[in-house]
């Protein structure tokens, strides 16, 4: 498991290569989030951020088969189309990889201490739809499919 909160960009291929070189891995689900339209500054709570993300990944690993996982979240000033976040989950099967990846993103959105401030617009408001997205994982999802 790799968790990194950083200012600098990252290389998608290199991050994915690092978690897929295991012949028990059949599926890698990846989410890449990026800045839309307006430049922004991302503030975070340094001592808490990695701890919060680690907790989310550990919870995902209890719920699904996660063979390896990388989460990178950037902070600082970012321009439109700059990557913000990467979540990559390696598993034997796609059902586990997809569910864990989406779960991590949904929880990251509501539990990890990051705040976006858009240039010329101010602080981004939290969305009720993000709370709803995280809520749907309670109680723990069942029926993870194979494949």
């Amino acid at each position: 498991m790799k968790i990194s909160v950083q200012q600098q960009a990252f290389d998608l291929t290199r991050e994915v290569e690092a978690i897929r070189k295991n012949d028990k891995v059949g599926a890698i689900a990846i989410f890449a989030g990026q800045v839309r339209e307006v430049a922004m500054t991302l503030e975070h709570y340094p001592q808490m951020t990695e701890k919060a993300i680690r907790g989310i990944v550990e919870e995902a690993s209890r719920r699904w088969q996660v063979m390896d996982c990388t989460v990178i979240h950037r902070h600082g000033e970012l321009q439109p189309t700059d990557p913000i976040v990467l979540v990559a989950v390696a598993s034997a099967h796609r059902g586990d990889a997809f569910a864990a990846c989406e779960f991590i993103m949904d929880y990251l959105k509501t539990q990890a201490p990051f705040w976006k401030k858009e240039a010329g617009r101010g602080w981004v408001e939290a969305k009720a739809s993000d709370d709803a997205a995280a809520e749907r994982w309670n109680p723990p999802a069942k029926g993870v499919k194979g494949g």
């Binding site: 989030g33 991302l42 503030e43 975070h44 709570y45 001592q47 808490m48 701890k51 919060a52 979240h73 913000i84 976040v85 993103m105 990251l108 959105k109 509501t110 539990q111 990890a112 201490p113 990051f114 705040w115 976006k116 401030k117 101010g122 602080w123 981004v124 408001e125 939290a126 993000d130």
Partner: protein
């Protein structure tokens, strides 16, 4: 007892402060009591920590409910709902 209080994002800006050491009056044993104590200062604090505002909190870098207990030496953080990802 003494605690450290930290503010982030719009709260940090409204209060013009990132962090402060606080001597809590006796009986201030929960996060919501700390918040009420700060709110009672009035001014920017009264506004930013008003009851109607959605304010999240963490104790020692763990997100907690307002009912969470606090003890001497804790780092208590107040911030708006998060918007990362």
């Amino acid at each position: 007892m003494k605690v450290t209080v930290r503010y982030f994002a719009s709260l940090r800006e409204s209060l013009g402060k990132e962090e402060e050491e606080l001597e809590l009056p006796p009986g201030t044993a929960t996060v919501s009591a700390v918040r009420a104590h700060l709110r009672a200062r009035g001014g920017a604090y009264g506004e930013a920590l008003a009851e109607k505002r959605l304010v999240r909190s963490a104790v020692n870098q763990d997100m907690v409910q307002a009912s969470a207990t606090v003890k001497a030496g804790d780092e208590i953080a107040f911030f708006p709902p998060v918007t990362g990802g």
